[in-house]
């Protein structure tokens, strides 16, 4: 059974169909990329998966249980975390506190758990932000904010991580570092659903790719299958500035 299953997902906004009848499955432990030109519905899909939007019709299942229409916090607590395209740090808190919040978003009202605190520090070490633990979250530069987002989502102890264009705007060094983090997460057995524009990253990291266009599923397959798919090539070269699939 796929860890995430999307069936006939449709979403309308005031008459415009952002997603039309999209179905696909994500295998547990895989790095699964979702790509497509701007406006193809990738972010809408991510928002529905994480519960921020409710679908107009269709189903989403996490480990076999339906989560479409559930509140975002319910989905988060069931083991699916996400990051945002533009990082959303909690402004009044430090880097470490951002992570502590995720770890303590449910459970005891009055007691902080020292085990969760230790896990938060360990996660900071994992993404390389341990030095900045006590600095204000908003003081981090852009690339590190992305890592903070991921670290915060990790403190939910998720099985699935939704990443929304995490490589956008990063320099090559930051890009490489982020790719290492994603590989390490994959090594830990996490399922990563990666919405991305950076083709080199996608082709290098992903085991499976779903291509969206105009809200519909265009084609799905392994990186080499996608690279040789005429439909995918046309969707991309037709609407972007001739950027090829090879980065």
């Amino acid at each position: 059974m796929n860890i995430v299953e999307v069936s006939r997902l449709t979403k309308h906004f005031a008459g415009v169909a952002a997603l039309g009848d999209v179905s696909f499955g994500v295998e547990g432990g895989a790095i699964h990329a979702i790509i497509g030109p701007n406006g193809s519905g990738k972010t809408t899909l991510l928002n529905i998966l994480s519960g921020v939007y409710k679908p107009s019709s269709g189903e989403v299942r996490l480990r076999g249980r339906r989560i479409d229409g559930a509140h975002p916090f319910e989905i988060a607590r069931q083991g699916m975390g996400r990051t945002f395209q533009t990082p959303r740090p909690l402004r009044s808190m430090s880097v470490l506190e951002n992570l502590l919040l995720a770890g303590h978003s449910s459970g005891s009202w009055w007691r902080f758990d020292s085990a969760k605190r230790a896990k938060a520090m360990e996660t900071l070490h994992f993404v390389g932000l341990a030095d900045a633990a006590d600095s204000p979250a908003i003081s981090l530069p852009q690339g590190q904010q992305r890592l903070l987002e991921i670290a915060r989502a990790l403190c939910l102890d998720p099985q699935v991580l939704l990443l929304d264009e995490p490589h956008a705007g990063l320099n090559p060094v930051e890009t490489e570092r982020l790719m290492d983090v994603i590989r390490a997460l994959h090594g830990r057995g996490l399922t990563v659903i990666l919405v991305e524009h950076e083709m080199r990253v996608v082709m290098t990291l992903a085991q499976r790719i779903t291509v969206l266009n105009f809200g519909k599923l265009l084609v799905e397959g392994t990186p080499s299958e996608i690279q040789s798919s005429p439909a995918a090539i046309e969707a991309y070269l037709g609407s972007r500035r001739g950027k090829s699939f090879h980065g």
Binding site: F13, A14, F84
Partner: protein
Amino acid sequence: MLIQLGFSGLAMGAIYGLVALGFTLIWNAVGIVNFAQGELVMLAAFVSVASLSQALHLPWAVNLVLTVVFMAVFGLFMARGIYHPLRNAPQLGAIVATLGLSIFLKNSAVLVWGPDPLIDSGPFGNATVSLGPAKIYGQHVLILVTMVVLMVLQVAMFRGTAIGKAMRATAQDREVARLMGINTDRVIALIFAYACMLAGVAGVLVAPVFYVSADMGGMVALKAFASSIVGGFGHVPGAVIGGLILGLMDAFGSYFLSSQYIDVISFGLLIAFLIFRPQGLFGEPEMERP
């Protein structure tokens, strides 16, 4: 009787609409809810009645023009002194600041003009016009006529003149307007000035209908907020239409239902709209945002 109620309801509604229009323009331009809009009307009413009418005995038309000019200048000061320092502040700061302004204006009015309410008979006094069996107050007719003229002029300005188009552009999207070369700071100041001018007209028109007192701003503002919610917050024609609807509701509700509880009813309506149809009659539903 119905016709009479209708006219008085529309007249009050026109006032609510004018006030609502003022802060709707400010909201569209800079994202601040101007909680002091009612006090601006009060200020204009006092200036018009106390200073221009009672002290200087100026004819009504001159009174109107001078009051509007005064309010326009005040609006420029408001833009510089209140909006400008707060332009990047979070919502709550701006709310508290405009509430502070309303308190300041309300209490300053008492200091300047004394605590007693003023009565002004206006240019028509109690004169009525007969429409069949109904007797309609001249003042109400004046309000409605002024309103129509003003709306026509406003549409002409917004669509026809360069400055009007600049104001519309800035109100729709400040960043894009700036990128197009519009001096948004100056345009925003003008929008504040215009919104205050609208309050000025409202103040002059409403003065003969009510006692002019320092407290009048609060209730007018609240009715105007309700009008705006009903019409669709941020929707320019909606503000006016919402005002007319609320004015008619007030008039007919007071007569047929209960004048004591009319405020409870209108604010109940406000809350009902906020819960069930926050976009009002004409607004667009807010999209869920990621």
